[in-house]
């Protein structure tokens, strides 16, 4: 593991353990406002979770000071580059955002059209038919076959409302 990747690994490890500790502490503290029976489990689990996370943090801190490879690093780490990691982590929330605003079909079309070239897919001529087939297949699978209408998004809903108002 190169130095920058190692530094990033430890940073993530501390942030993860720290966030979990804060979350568990919040679970235990907020539980004190509940009635007696309702707070029992959250208090026990929150306290145990906070202690475990702090211990994980301390173990990571000691391991870092000792040097050597991180104890729990997985194989996924090795293959990634910051660009690919950024693309991988940002793709789902961006898809969600476009889905929320423009609806499922626009989000699906854009995902099928834009994601492959960003990941380095060379055959660009395939992309438009691929995106169209993906959207048509999704439209046939969910609304037609499974009777699940997919979200139209804020703009889609607004357009549908306008269409009915004018109609």
């Amino acid at each position: 593991m190169i130095v920058e990747a190692l530094r990033r690994y430890w940073r993530e490890e501390f942030v993860l353990a720290g966030c979990l500790a804060v979350l568990f502490a919040a679970v235990a503290i907020l539980a004190q406002g509940f009635p007696r029976d309702a707070r029992l489990f959250p208090t026990v689990v929150g306290t145990a979770g906070a202690l475990l996370s702090v211990t994980a943090f301390a173990i990571a801190f000691r391991a870092r000071r000792r040097g050597g490879p991180p104890p729990d690093a997985t194989a996924e780490e090795a293959a990634e580059t910051p660009r690919r990691l950024g693309l991988a982590v940002l793709s789902p929330p961006l898809f969600g955002l476009v889905l929320w605003i423009f609806g499922f079909y626009v989000a699906s079309f854009l995902a099928a059209l834009v994601m492959p070239p960003l990941m380095g897919y060379p055959q660009r001529r395939v992309l438009l038919p691929f995106a169209v087939v993906t959207v048509v297949a999704t439209a046939l699978l969910f609304p037609v076959a499974l009777d699940v209408s997919l979200p139209h998004g804020l703009i889609g809903d607004w357009l549908i409302d306008r269409f009915y108002a004018e109609g």
């Binding site: 029976d37 489990f41 793709s91 929330p93 889905l99 995902a111 993906t134 699940v148």
Partner: protein, 496 residues
């Protein structure tokens, strides 16, 4: 008994009933494959269509969806590390590494044969032991359910893949998530912060889609290439089919775990899937092979979830208490058709009930053969370029997360858990522990408070009930055993 069997097979093998079994099997396999959508969703959609059918056709159609859904759920677990059904999540732990090694067909052969054997055993238990077993299951009260939930959590703690400390932390996180929303027993709303969405609790489906599907999509994008690392498929379907029978202990042991869990209302096939996997790992002579493509790691979860489904019908048909979601929907279908669960169902409608049992057996075999026929096509997914596969999977997974409750917030919950799952997995936090904590959290807390209500807040109820006390003793042994083993080993070494 033999007369009843002949009567049942006579009814089930009628062409119209066979047609409904086939239709239900195809639908079940299909929805099982889609992450987020499972057999209960398809069964709920189909219920209105069964109103005009005769009762046996309706029950066979719905039950076939349920049986085949369990088969279909394992397809994406094995090929893509994305469980199509929550009850096939643990299958991914060894099925997916096999796909990465190019052995997708072998893994699916293992899954098909283990599923078929377990489903047949489950149906046979349902046929021959329904009534006595249902009465024995009545002895399983809240105290016993609480003890069983604690056993599940203990197994997570002692058998989690990776760091035990991180496994426990993830288990606590799963439990914490299960606290969100209105508590059905205590009537208190917790951690909702005024949000209507949180008041209902965080759904299991978006969490599963996030932790497994979205996490895996992120990993696929970072790594590129194809799922099968060599870019080609090795091994055959029949190799997998044969290999299943080389591990009879895993096959039969996990079938027994699943069949037992199916009898207990509220626990379900998902818990059976994880518990059987953990038990198989714990009892294996080579636990180090688990998580790297061990055949037993596919056989155990597949056998358990498929034996769980038929036995979950035992309390539903005999006592009117459903063992899980699919059993609950079948119970609805039974009552819609004017039938009442209980002893009368067996005595007044022998053709219907035995036809239903025989149809389940026929359905299990049909599902296995349809699944086997589809495997060569399914397996090709592992050699498709990730650049095309990842967007497709993202679209289908998030559509599945939305489709369950038709709530857009579920999509964002799935995305959140996907990103969290990616970083957690990268740092050795086992996702399996979070899932078990989430599944067992509500069960454990509900059963705990119900037990105290029954006993008038006397904690002795947990040790006075023999089954509960024995289960707690097993928990204690599991926790203490590693230390004892180490001490024995040390003593032995000193003696030599």
């Amino acid at each position: 008994m033999v007369d009843n069997l002949i009567l049942g097979f006579g009814a089930a093998l009628h062409w119209s009933h066979l047609l409904f079994i086939l239709l239900g099997t195809v639908i079940g396999l299909w929805v099982g494959v889609l992450p987020g959508l499972g057999a209960p969703v398809a069964m709920a959609i189909l219920i209105p269509f069964t109103f005009s059918m005769d009762p046996l056709s309706a029950l066979l159609l719905l039950a076939s969806v349920s049986v085949a859904g369990a088969y279909g759920g394992s397809v994406t677990s094995i090929l893509l590390n994305m469980p199509g059904e929550a009850s096939a999540a643990a299958t991914a732990y060894d099925g997916y590494p096999m796909s990465q090694q190019g052995k997708a067909k072998v893994a699916m052969g293992l899954s098909a044969s283990a599923s078929m054997v377990a489903a047949i055993i489950g149906v046979l238990i349902l046929m021959f032991a329904a009534e006595p077993v249902a009465h024995a299951a009545l002895a399983f009260g809240p105290a016993e359910s609480f003890a069983l939930a604690i056993l599940g959590l203990t197994i997570v703690a002692v058998a989690s893949l990776g760091s035990t400390l991180k496994g426990l932390a993830m288990g606590c996180l799963g439990l914490s998530i299960s606290f969100i929303g209105l508590d059905a027993i205590l009537g208190t709303t917790r951690y909702a912060f005024g949000s209507l969405y949180l008041q209902d609790g965080i759904g299991f489906v978006p969490v599963m889609v996030g932790l497994f599907a979205i996490t895996e999509i992120i990993i696929l994008i970072t790594q590129g290439g194809t799922i099968a690392k060599g870019g080609r498929l090795e091994g055959s379907l029949w190799q997998g089919f044969r290999d299943t029978f080389r591990y009879p202990v895993s096959l039969l042991g996990s079938t027994a775990v699943g069949a037992f869990i199916g009898l207990i209302p509220g626990v379900g096939a998902t818990a059976a899937n994880f518990l059987a996997y953990s038990a198989a790992q714990k009892t294996s002579r080579h636990p180090e092979r688990f998580g790297k493509g061990a055949p037993e790691g596919v056989i155990a979860p597949e056998a358990s979830n498929n034996s769980c489904i038929p036995t979950s019908l035992i309390p539903a048909l005999t006592l009117g208490i459903p063992g899980g979601a699919t059993a609950a929907i079948l119970l609805v279908a039974v009552t819609i058709h004017g039938l009442r669960p209980g002893q009368m169902l067996f005595t007044s409608n022998p053709e219907l009930i035995w036809g239903f049992f025989a149809g389940l057996l026929v359905g299990a075999v049909i599902a296995a053969f349809l699944y086997l026929a589809m495997i060569p096509w399914f397996a090709l997914v592992t050699v498709v370029k990730v650049e095309l596969l990842a967007p497709l999977l993202l679209i289908v997974s998030l559509a599945g997360a939305y489709a369950n409750e038709r709530n857009i917030v579920d999509v964002f919950v799935a995305i959140f858990f996907g990103i969290f799952g990616y970083f957690a997995r990268r740092h050795g936090y086992p996702l399996i522990s979070l899932v078990i904590g989430l599944i067992l959290g509500k069960l454990a807390e509900g059963a705990f408070h119900q037990s105290l209500m029954i006993s008038g807040h006397d904690y002795a109820i947990f040790v006075m009930k023999p089954i509960a006390a024995a289960t707690f003793a097993v928990c204690l042994v599991l926790v203490l055993w590693p230390g004892v083993k180490k001490r024995i080993g040390k003593g032995g070494a000193e003696a030599t």
